[in-house]
């Protein structure tokens, strides 16, 4: 029996899609600043990138607030449970049309691999990119006549860390876009993130999942 369940609430969807747009836009403008692309023109790319960066910061502040007030942050705590089963599914089961090893419901939206990857994203990759980006915006060169709060001798380390973060985010984006198609049907995850509703009933045998 399948039931349409409200999985993604409005803020969550707003946050997801705004973040998606911002990160794609930051990626385009950022890799132009990096010298890999030629699209907006360097000067525009810098201005757009800075502007989008501020928007993303605001969004992140709201998202953190939302995660803590709703308790949704608990979704991202990694678990060892069923992680091998999930890996096994992606490597083998998926080709045989085997059932998903984990059950998706409102209290557990993420499978163990997603938990792990999103957790890494949230505590490593995004903080790395955001923090290096903030240094990028706010550093001041040491100057004999001024005492600045954020003196750096060289942009090099900051810029390279920011580049590493950017490469990882693009990698995540590619994998994320593909794995989106591995739901019940190729478009069910996309529909769910657009409308909020997903058919989550389970009419076949599932390994039991706690929560």
């Amino acid at each position: 029996m399948k039931a349409k369940i409200y999985v993604y609430r409005s803020f969550e969807r707003f946050w997801h899609w705004t973040q998606a747009i911002l990160i794609i836009f930051l990626g385009l403008s950022g890799f132009e600043i990096h010298g890999s692309l030629n699209f907006f023109g360097f000067e525009n790319a810098v201005n757009y990138h800075n502007f989008a960066a501020y928007l993303l910061l605001v969004l992140i502040v709201f998202a953190i607030f939302w995660h803590f007030t709703t308790g949704e942050w608990k979704q991202y705590i990694p678990t060892k449970e069923l992680i091998l089963a999930q890996l096994n599914y992606y490597l083998f089961g998926i080709f045989r049309n085997a059932p998903h090893p984990t059950k998706k419901d409102v209290l557990s939206k993420l499978n163990p691999l997603q938990k792990l990857v999103y957790f890494a994203l949230k505590i490593m990759i995004i903080p790395l990119t955001v923090a290096s980006g903030l240094f990028y915006i706010f550093y001041r060169y040491p100057h004999s006549s001024e005492i600045a709060a954020l003196n750096i001798e060289s942009l090099r380390t900051i810029a390279l860390l920011h580049t590493v973060g950017a490469f990882m985010l693009v990698t995540f984006l590619i994998a994320h876009l593909y794995l989106m198609t591995t739901g019940e049907t190729p478009t069910s995850n996309l529909k769910a993130m657009l409308t909020g509703y997903e058919e989550l009933g389970h009419d076949h045998q599932q390994p039991e999942n706690k929560n």
Partner: protein, 525 residues
């Protein structure tokens, strides 16, 4: 309801950020107000000199004019005789050398090489009279040439090879009665022709600057602000601010853009941040030698060829000298993109007699000091003049040949075309050893480019420097610059990561499609 409030709140925050980022500051910056005040000042002379009886007596020599000037301005000669325009020498501290007196007598260049022994000709650009090849005549106040700087009739002209004396056809009374504040012509008559012709040396100072358009120079353009040299080169007691690092070493008495424009004149904070490491000139002088060509290369080693026993010269397609028997071969350039170096305001110099330790590299005659790590340094645009000039390979010192003499047979290269006798006589005048062997060595001179500033809308663009290939900053590699620099390993790792992810995704997806189709063929669900 709660949803509406949160959306409104979110929108408000974004609106405020956008307002902050995109709003132009509407008040006029204080530097612009102070410039406007400065330019409004009345600069007319305090007295009408044509009515002074001292200037109506008939003058038979230029020295009489000077005496007439000093009869009223009876302390001014002390100021002039203290200046480097008079002494052709400054007291400077050079790192690693200590305090030295440097000037045209002991500094060599890679144009006509040196003044010493050629004073009678070179003194055409000295603010004095009566110099001979034996010395620059700077003992007597009556030899001060007041008129070359203060003539406002545009008729005063110094004679060739007369030790600094004026042409003897001039109406000295007329000139003396019409003196005033120096205009562009007074300065330009020497400073535009350094090196023996228009724009040979500087590249940004040439005869087009007598009456430039504002496309050529936004400050001096006669169709614009119409500034003259001394509007920026502020002068006190005949000491004129600003100097060239071909002949000076210390970070003092400089003219800066900041003295009018402030250190952070941009609305854009990112541009203001640039001013900590990048000089104004680096962006605002995208090219120099905008009107006439400037000399970029001088090869003395080909000098002395004669046709039918006579010296000759050849011209290039733009009408510039490509070859002269007396000087050698030249290269010229117009609308040149400057080269860029770090500069902290101090320089060191090759002084005549300095032994060249490494003869495999070009000898830099005036090293501009600076680096990224040095907090005083900024990137400045320079013209680098490259040359091949005579050198004594045994003593390992640059040769200063005797170039000018009145007659053949007086050892001057320009008359006799004999490197041996010219070198021997020149080095004798310098009181330096000469081995009798002549070779030629590559040298470089660095000429900071400060004039021919373009309008604000016509600067070096961000991407002219912030790009991977053909960056204007390609020569400055001691720092990380976004858009130009990257780390090879990170770039490679990142690309491999992206490609392998993409391939993995494509492979996985294809396999899924194939397996699904197979299942359908078999009629499975």
């Amino acid at each position: 309801m709660r949803k509406i409030f949160s959306i409104l709140g979110f929108g408000l925050v974004i609106y405020m950020i956008a307002l902050n980022i995109f709003s132009d500051r509407i008040h006029e910056p204080s530097w612009r107000i102070s410039i406007r005040e400065k330019l409004k000042k009345d600069k007319a002379p305090a007295a009408d000199h044509s009515r002074f009886s001292q200037l109506q007596q008939p003058f038979t020599s230029p020295q009489q004019v000077t005496e007439a000037c000093l009869s009223c301005h009876n302390q001014t000669h002390l100021e002039v005789m203290h200046s480097n325009h008079w002494n052709w020498e400054r007291e400077e501290y050079i790192e690693g050398r200590g305090i030295v007196y440097i000037g045209k007598k002991n500094i060599l260049n890679n144009f006509c090489i040196g003044v010493r022994g050629n004073e009678e000709s070179c003194a055409k650009c000295h603010i004095g009279y009566g110099s001979t090849n034996d010395n620059l005549n700077i003992e007597e106040a009556r030899n001060i040439d007041c008129l070359v700087c203060h003539d406002n009739t545009d008729t005063y002209t110094k004679a060739n090879e007369q030790g600094g004396n004026p042409q003897n056809t001039l109406d000295l009374n007329l000139i003396a009665q019409h003196i005033g504040r120096p205009g562009r012509a007074n300065c330009g008559v020497c400073h535009f022709y350094g090196g023996g012709g228009n724009n040979v040396k500087h590249g940004d100072l040439e005869m087009a600057m007598f009456e430039p358009s504002k496309e050529t120079d936004i400050h001096m353009g006669t169709d614009g602000l119409n500034l003259v040299c001394v509007d920026c080169h502020l002068t006190e007691k005949h000491t004129i601010s600003g100097k060239m690092y071909s002949l000076s070493s210390m970070n003092r008495n400089r003219v800066t853009c900041e003295q009018c424009h402030s250190e952070t004149p941009h609305v854009d904070e990112i541009l203001n941040e640039h001013t900590l490491k990048v000089s104004c000139q680096a962006c605002h002088i995208p090219e120099y030698a905008k009107v006439n060509s400037t000399k970029t290369h001088w090869d003395w080693s080909t000098a002395g060829r004669l046709k039918d026993g006579k010296p000759f010269h050849e011209e290039d397609s733009l009408g510039n000298h490509a070859y002269m028997s007396i000087k050698g071969s030249f290269k010229w350039g117009r609308n040149l993109e400057p080269e860029y170096v770090w500069f902290n305001g101090t320089a060191s110099h090759y002084l005549s007699g300095d032994v060249i330790a490494d003869t495999s590299q070009p000898v830099i005659l005036n090293t501009l000091n600076g680096s990224y790590q040095d907090q005083e340094s900024k990137i400045i645009p320079v013209k680098i003049h490259r040359a091949v000039q005579p050198f004594d390979p045994v003593n390992q010192i640059l040769i200063q040949p005797k170039l000018y003499a009145e007659a053949v047979g007086d050892s001057a290269f320009w008359k006799d075309f004999d490197w041996q006798t010219a070198s021997r006589a020149g080095m004798h005048d310098m009181q330096l050893p000469y081995s009798g062997e002549i070779s030629f060595i590559k040298t470089e001179m660095y000429w900071p480019v400060n004039h021919m500033v373009s309008a604000a809308g016509n600067t070096v663009a961000c991407a002219d420097c912030h790009q991977r290939d053909n960056s204007r900053m390609a020569g400055l590699n001691d720092f990380y610059m976004p858009g130009r620099d990257y780390s090879e390993p990170i770039e490679l790792g990142g690309k491999l990561l992206l490609i392998s992810t993409l391939l993995g995704v494509i492979g996985h997806g294809s396999l899924r499609i194939i397996m699904t189709m197979n299942r359908k063929k078999r009629g499975e669900k």
